[in-house]
Amino acid sequence: MEKKSSSFANLFLLFIFVILYAPIFYLIFYSFNSGGTMSHFEGFTLDWYRELLQDTRLLIIVLNTLVIALLSALIATVTGVLGAIGIRSYKRRQTRNTLLSLNNVLIVSPDVIIGASFLILFTMAGIQLGFYSVLLSHIAFSIPIVVLMVLPKLMEMSPSLEDAARDLGASNWNVLTKVTLPYIAPGIFAGFFMALTYSLDDFAVTFFVTGNGFSTLSVEIYSLARRGVSLNINALSTLMFVITVIFVVVYYYLATRSGTKGANLRR
């Protein structure tokens, strides 16, 4: 009885995995097709990859995307960490809750609304659409994620740690850099990482606030895909898939390692 139901369950799970991964492998498979379509596989070729690597325009777009992601994640992390420390310092429950609700507005808002409202904002403020508008919006929507990643760590830290440091004569700056920041470091890294992935993944907000001259990878893929199938995109997605998987493996490795380390420390 138990056995039978579990084999059905395994079949169901297998089916879900096939559905989830089939489209991705479909893309990868046809990136090696010399036929030029996503339906008839004619022969093996690496032409699409060659073409991709020779495309300097695309290379620049990839660089733009990376620069935006790294810069916005960095600035968002600094602002978010300071904000989280600030939120904790408010002792009144109501103030804290208000700040947290404001913090979460950009997380729950649909991308279209963030994009549209930022477009209005930048136009009103006279900021030209392009690199800076994209960077500012990426910083803006990454800050709340960093706060949400850091705040639980901060809350879990016993205040007596900081009090002890102060009693022993540490200055505010010392307390921050020698006690608080090292303690919440895992949260900071998680926040930075999340901000990075949010920025790399974002399409809708960028689509609204990017002008004509500037483009990120997502926006570029969208405009290419609207023109129909071209196997360059398949080659590109294969490379991105491989990079993502490497990313996940590294992250998983670090997470499990730091997880056991943290557990050991706490014992």
């Binding site: 169901f12 893309l27 993944d201």
Partner: protein, 267 residues
């Protein structure tokens, strides 16, 4: 005293962010919704919204978002349930999450190939004997791809809720003679309702506002609130109308959040 100034210094960038990127954009959207296409202050946009075209579109958008949420839930719940029962559940969960890290546009692009006239889906239909048909640019393909994209986001909170469930409750239920179905209906489901609700939140609201999918997969056949906003802002350049639709989307969003969190307190 000294602490206070330190704190204010901390909060400065974060407070600036709240004012500039959280409060100001919302106010600007509301402000812009009161201007017609010629820049005159009027209520025309609101009057337009309450005409048959826009109400129909809102209803349609709701219907699709509802369908997408329900189907995702029906697929995700059993998947999450089976996942919690597997041996290396964290690893399997990670494998479910990996596809959600692949750029959304690439996944949509894959389906352009799969659902294309000579794509894999039609080849399968031919092979089964149904014969090929138009799949791309239909309601079906839109719902299918949207469900595909949202499933990992639905699985994750349900998995967490199921994982936290105390197994002794299930033993108690079966000891007291409850059938499997009764156990599910009276014990498991009510206790994981929070997970289901947060899953619905992360699916329903984006489903109302996704515009790239409707463009790429549904070929403008399906117009969601998100598509309409994008259309007004970036194509028609009628920011006032776009802002008005955005205001309604925000109201719907707040209502939906309130609905799913008030009940949470009741449970």
């Amino acid at each position: 005293m000294q602490n206070k100034t330190f704190r204010h210094l901390f909060m400065l960038p974060y407070a600036l962010w709240i004012i500039l990127f959280v409060i100001a954009p919302i106010l600007l959207v509301v402000y812009f919704s009161f201007f017609d296409i010629h820049g005159n202050f009027s209520l025309t946009n609101y009057k337009n919204f309450f005409t048959a075209t826009y109400l129909q579109m809102t209803l349609n958008s709701f219907w699709y978002a509802f369908l997408i949420t329900v189907i995702s839930l029906l697929v995700a719940y059993p998947t999450a349930y089976i996942l919690t029962r597997t041996r290396h559940k964290q690893l399997w969960l990670l494998l479910i999450i990996v596809p959600s890290w692949i750029n959304l546009l690439l996944k949509a692009y894959a389906f352009i190939g799969i659902f294309g006239t000579h794509g894999a889906a039609n080849q399968f239909l031919e092979w089964v004997g149904i014969g090929s048909r138009q799949l791309l640019f239909t309601d079906f393909s839109f719902v299918f791809v949207a469900v595909y994209i949202f499933i990992p986001f639905m699985i994750l909170p349900i998995f967490n809720a199921l994982d936290k469930l105390n197994p002794s409750l299930l033993y108690a239920a079966s000891d007291l003679g409850a059938s499997k179905w009764t156990t599910f209906r009276r014990v498991i489901f009510p206790l994981t309702l929070d997970g289901v609700k947060s899953g619905c939140q992360v699916v329903f609201i984006p489903a109302l506002s996704l515009f790239m999918l409707t463009r790429l997969i549904a070929g403008n056949r399906v117009i969601t609130l998100g598509t309409a906003i994008e259309q007004q802002f970036l194509v028609t350049q009628n920011w006032g109308m776009g802002a008005t639709i955005a205001v309604f989307l925000i109201i719907i969003m707040v209502g939906f959040m309130a609905l799913t969190s008030i009940r949470r307190r009741g449970v």
